[in-house]
Amino acid sequence: MGNTNPIAKILKNSALLLYALFALFPLFWMLLISFKHDREMFNTIFVFNPTLENYRVLFSTGEYIGYFMNNVFVSVGAVLLSLAVGVPAAYALARFDFRGKEDLAFTFLSFRFAPEMLVILPLFLIYQKIGLYDTAFGLIWVFQLISLPFIIWILRGYFEDISPEIEHAARVDGYSWWRVFLKINMPLIKPGMVAAALLSFIFVWNNFTFTLLLAGQGVVTTTVASLKYISSDTVHYGQMAAAVTIAALPEVLLALLIQKHLVRGLSMGAVKG
């Protein structure tokens, strides 16, 4: 936009800053009061004596760390399973031609849109019957609804970008088809895998509904645990803030580290790099 009008520029930047304030202030504030001691909670706003008391309490009771680890376990597990299933599926959709191919592709995508509650109601029943209720694996399985579509959709585009001639050349060079997959295809789709895995990880990590209703006391994640804080009458606002910071921190860090992959992933490979 070749706009050199200075007034327009000032307006633009102020609007931008306004939005930035809207978007970032809540996070900043959360971080801030996580360092505020309970006794200073009501009488100070921004100026106070920082303390690590809230974090100390959180770590020492051990519960919250447990929730955090649960989150890690199910999220990583879900993404790994999605990669194991989704990478071959994306390859098949990219390379093979068969009847109902696009319908199958749409079905995979439609998982992402399936209402959580619709899946939960029957699964609540089934899981209890087959003993998957309140298990990590039960959650990992359900999370496929969230993570698999991303992996397949994004990686299909990456596979389609690799010319089949390259695979043929590798076969003729003396590599069997699975070696070709490992040595040629995988390195070439690595950025796509990173983007898709990250995106899936974030949305799985943030999931609330499945964990709430398909898991009980056995597997509690940070999102479900936060519910306790909302509904309780606790006045430990500082601890709440610390809990929120810890819950949100991994993703914010990830987002910082892998900015570029994230953008590519979210645009679903519709835009290259």
């Binding site: 001639e165 390259i166 050349a169 076969r171 003729v172 060079d173 003396g174 590599y175 069997s176």
Partner: protein
């Protein structure tokens, strides 16, 4: 050390038949060219030999062994792909070394380094070994692709239009280099192209493929002087051969053609007459290559009268198109010729070089002389 043979090979893609009843025998160490227009099925043919595709019908053999079910990595063929198919994430060195690091054709690292450098030196890309394919020009990529094949010791080299995507000058240069390389290759080579000059200059034998069927297999001479069909005749030659319908008439005890409204000037040579009479029928399609038609602006009674239709200078020479009896005929002329449309011009057709085709099937009947006759023994 390899004879390759295809027997009645048919390949279909869903409802589409891409190759139909193709049978070819390629001798060991032969430089065999598969020639055809775009879409004829040439790449499919190579892919079948390489094992990338499997035929619906027919048998493919190497040295007499049927290899239909053999995976590509076990066939010991080397292939140069039309779009080079270089591995984008590997350096030039690693690309060329790739076959020598595969489980099937593995060599020790020291030997690999020597071989890659040797081949790179021959192809004059030794200074590019640490680059990535994205940093190379088209011509350089083509050489890397060639290098990856030459570093092998395969039963057969398969080359899919390696010169097609190069600019004209480079193509010219590479064709000459190929000829030199071909002499040293000492391995059966199957080379695919749609450029008839490449085919004629490089091949020991040529198979002409059209819409999935073989039209003719023969030496360059056989293809050029005794094309099996009108298609083959038209494909080899620039400007294109002129094939005209003519009636056979008897005159003064000899056979003449009634061609372009003229029945006095086209005497059919003796042996050809015999063949035409044996073949039967009273019309024939007569083919004259542009270089076999002489012209003059002052004619005599032995020449046919025509008028200039168009004149296209093409660098060193020009295509002169003339019109006679409502038909257009292409001639070769000097680029500086002064020819104006509708100018009268006189033509003399060399009947000794004329090629005769059946007017119904378009198949070759006869020609004069012994040019292009398949040698016996």
């Amino acid at each position: 050390m390899a004879d390759i043979a295809l027997k009645q090979v048919t390949k279909k893609f869903k409802k589409n038949t891409v190759l139909s009843g193709v049978s070819i025998d390629i001798k060991d160490k032969e430089f065999f060219v598969i020639f055809g227009p775009a879409g004829a099925g040439k790449t499919t043919l190579l892919n079948l030999i390489a094992g990338i595709l499997v035929p619906e019908e027919g048998v493919i053999t190497i040295n007499g062994n049927v290899i239909n079910s053999l995976e590509p990595e076990h066939r010991n063929v080397a292939m140069v792909f039309e779009n080079y198919a270089l591995y984008p994430h590997l350096t030039v060195f690693e690309n060329i070394a790739s076959p020598l690091r595969s489980p099937k054709y593995r060599q020790p690292e020291g030997k690999i380094r020597d071989e890659v450098e040797r081949v790179a030196k021959i192809l004059r890309i030794d200074w590019l070994l640490q680059r990535l394919p994205s940093e190379l020009s088209n011509g350089q990529r083509q050489r890397v692709s060639l290098g990856r094949a030459l570093v092998r010791n395969p039963e057969v080299f398969l080359m899919d239009e390696p010169l097609t995507h190069l600019d004209a000058k480079l193509r010219h240069q590479m064709r000459a280099e190929f000829k030199e390389m071909q002499a040293n290759l000492n391995t059966t080579t199957i080379y695919v192209t749609h450029d008839y000059l490449e085919a004629l200059s490089l091949a020991d034998r040529i198979a002409v493929l059209n819409q999935g069927r073989i039209e003719q297999i023969g030496t360059p001479d056989e293809i050029y002087y005794r094309p099996a069909t009108e298609f083959v005749a038209e494909a080899f030659g620039e400007p294109e051969i002129n094939i005209l319908t003519a009636d056979l008439v008897s005159k003064d005890g000899s056979m003449h053609l009634n061609l372009l409204g003229d029945s006095d000037h086209f005497a059919v040579p003796g042996r050809v007459r015999q063949a035409l009479e044996e073949h039967g029928g009273d019309t024939v399609r007569a083919g004259f290559r542009p270089k076999d038609i002489k012209y003059n602006f002052t004619g005599d009674s032995s020449m046919l009268r025509a008028t200039v239709y168009s004149f296209e200078p093409l660098g060193a020479k020009a295509i002169l198109t003339v019109q006679a009896d409502g038909q257009l005929i292409r001639l070769i002329a000097a680029a500086d010729l002064d020819a104006k449309p509708d100018q009268p011009i006189y033509l003399k057709f060399n009947m000794e070089e004329a090629i005769f085709f059946d007017s119904g099937t378009g198949r070759f009947i006869a020609r004069a002389g012994e040019k292009g006759v398949r040698s016996v023994g």
